[in-house]
Symmetry: C2
Subunit: 546 residues, 2 copies
Amino acid sequence: MHNLSETLRLRFAAPGGIDAAIAPETAQDSGANTPAPRSNRRGRGKRAPLGQTIQQLPFGQIERQIKPIDLISEDHLEAIHQASLTIMQEIGLEYMSARARDIFRKAGADVDEDSQMVRIAPELVAQALKTAPNSFSLTPRNPARKLKMGGGFWVAGSVAGPPQVHDAISGRRPGNFEDFKKLIQLSQYFNAVQMFGYHPVSPIDIPANTRHLDTYHVCQTEGDKAYKISAIGRERTLDAIDMMAIAKGMDREAMKQEPALVTTISINSPRRVDEAMTDGLEVMALHNQVCSITPFTLMGAMTPVTLAGALAQHNAEALSAIVLTQLINPGAPVLYGTFTSNVDLRTGAPAFGTPENSRANLIAGQLARKYDLPYRSSNACTSNLADDQAVYESMMSLWSAIAGGAHFIHHGAGWLEGGLKASFEKLVLDAELLQELALTFGPFTADVADLAVEAIRGVPPGGHFFGEAHTLERYETAFYSPMTSDWRSHENWEADGSKSARERLTPLWQQALSDFKAPTLAQDRREALDAFVAKRKEELAGREPE
Amino acid sequence: MHNLSETLRLRFAAPGGIDAAIAPETAQDSGANTPAPRSNRRGRGKRAPLGQTIQQLPFGQIERQIKPIDLISEDHLEAIHQASLTIMQEIGLEYMSARARDIFRKAGADVDEDSQMVRIAPELVAQALKTAPNSFSLTPRNPARKLKMGGGFWVAGSVAGPPQVHDAISGRRPGNFEDFKKLIQLSQYFNAVQMFGYHPVSPIDIPANTRHLDTYHVCQTEGDKAYKISAIGRERTLDAIDMMAIAKGMDREAMKQEPALVTTISINSPRRVDEAMTDGLEVMALHNQVCSITPFTLMGAMTPVTLAGALAQHNAEALSAIVLTQLINPGAPVLYGTFTSNVDLRTGAPAFGTPENSRANLIAGQLARKYDLPYRSSNACTSNLADDQAVYESMMSLWSAIAGGAHFIHHGAGWLEGGLKASFEKLVLDAELLQELALTFGPFTADVADLAVEAIRGVPPGGHFFGEAHTLERYETAFYSPMTSDWRSHENWEADGSKSARERLTPLWQQALSDFKAPTLAQDRREALDAFVAKRKEELAGREPE
């Protein structure tokens, strides 16, 4: 009851907030708070940069200040660890690549060529964990876009892999090159999306054998951020490395000094690793690029139905491929990845953003910390629409990932429908969630001016702080101003059409695409990239890359 | 890309999930997954109880397993503490009640009768913190509804205080007794709502001077859970205690042995406490009922614009009233409450579920732990609609409250529009969020059967676990089954009308009201309650309670 009366008191006592204190005639709870376009709004002290009408946080990383959440005891963590050692040593994983098996055999692993099974002793795991780094950076062609992964620094990328794309104007449709390009542009535009997923949607209207050349070309010409690549096979992986090298004005050798690319190495759970994956892993590790080792483990389907069992298997699968990276190149950057969720056991349908998924995110983070490895998680959801369900599922994913200590949030923006659909609206929505979470866990200050005891002394009991010098000096930068929230009164919101948050997302991506300007790329590098793509297209004419 | 292929592989390989393994002819991804009514779905091993068609978790508390998040350093925490000691000792709070000032004076505080200012030395605060308990229970008339507050145990109540009510069928309207009753019924029905807020909506169509009698009567006859009361003034507070005593079959003295009621003692920030509040506080503390001391502090309006300053003031206000409870009755149960968020500084409009709000929730939890007091937080949002914005704001509130160590989540279900509106749809949505969060932080087991090494041994590489004995023995209880999520494929979801999550909320509360049965209340207690209300209405005829 007091909340109501206080709320009303505040609204009547100071209907114009700060603006009433500064320039009463301009401050009304009217259109000033219209969510889009936002050029007329303030927050964090900045108007939108010239040519951009959507106000957002600047590009950058806000260091997470918390000790990540530990959900389970040290004993339980150790029990999972020991079970996974047993799985690796006694049961083994099937490595379909003879090259991979050869590497394992030479390192002393027990390899059965008939069954293709590789069994690894705990000592080999321990050795790999000694050489794998606990943090590294990604440096794309624009060094101002450099990103740290490790410690308090985490990176959110856009969605990767969907065959379908959706927006509220054009509906659901198969992936295509035009939408791929727009999703890269949106990922470049929104600062909270720090790197590109690969690919944000599959452009199935361009030839599959050279698709990677066209898409990486877009990543370098429409954007200047780090990105994920597909490391399915040696040739595609080398093309990705070469194109990043060209854009950075260096050669393959120099690329080894400075990671810029990430790939997902997935395990075909349970316990199978296919040849194209380990081929890609080898090329990435040899060039000191980042492998995100991620078993895709849906409990009850690809793993036991129990969380402890799912994580024991997941952990064995992840550690085994992490060992391979370190055997190939000791010190190669590698992420401990998790993608453990449950299925609807009646229908077999995967479910994401569930309590089980959140718990897996938290515990996998503990495992990664036990091994002192950077940790990859996801922003996943099951919902068919960028609606309430999508938000609560994404928030379950994101909070557990970020408070659980993740360093890479894959699929951070734009994922819908269990990963079957990239969504323009969801990308904007996720950018909002990512900004809010980054600020939540950011630095805190409590110096004398922050503690404001003198300001408190100056305001009488029952008074307000709107007109105080302490407030006026800080109000423009004091609070975060969301892109997608509407904080207007019911009456003003209703008068403006009673728009739901989902409806407000559409004009935001439209505005972003309209504002979008590709970042500059030196003419010589652009030409070298064009030439590389032309040459490789000739070489790949009529065949698939190996 | 692997996620997609895996997802598809799974969907095609095992389209019927577990049911296909058990009874292939009945399992299709068709209507079996229709969200409401849910009598045909399984999850956590239980069908809905007889007469209830919505499947939900049973009533009870799931002990939080984590150490709550610490956002700021011990040094910063101490700086806030010291600033608040200075505020209490040097600047003081205005206590408008002569009785309250008298109690403070007798305890050695510095009291100025002209300004009504009370200044408290640190020693008085330290003494109060020695007697205030760090946990307690609430025991309503049905002892099976007993709730712990403290340690890992937290309680979520329904929204309290809105003047307006909304549902998608009838729209927005002023609060009334009929809707009040329905909101109590829904709060009784949904197990995740563990106690009632007071009131979930203000029934302004019944006389104000006796409204509390009618509403508490509904709380006892339509429900059997603990509830919040309004402690504005002595007489209303005593009526609430008497009515709970009657329903429990005891007298006022016996009530002192067993807390059953909670009230919010709000501070009229900055630094003013009105007489009706301390009158209510005194009656509650004397009867050993729970005072939730909650300064309502919107940064930039009722406090400094800085988070450190807001929390320094908040802390001084909270501790000062906590001292009063312990002076009145050492050992009286008291909650350290926070309600610190920001305003839109352009319009003065309050905003909830913001990053600043989340940070305040986390830090206030640290302060409560510093003082070893149970901690009250909230599930608040600003959105006008139970839409995406409502969900992300509520998730920001809930995650920071629960992972921040809260023991009481006030406004846990049904709050919209900055507390100006109770929403039927939001109540169901919040019940979903509360269930998911309770499970997320719940117990974990990792015994041999959980770790499932033998089950893993039994499934070949690339195989699946659907038909395994380990799975079949557990699948009915393995995973949480949400009330409000739709996990169907796009095609089936579309064929069923492409309903958004918000649209699916309406039939859920309609179903709940249709299923609702009032819990039994012994005839003699019912008659005694009726008689008490009749007698008190006579006594209050033509006047306001004191």
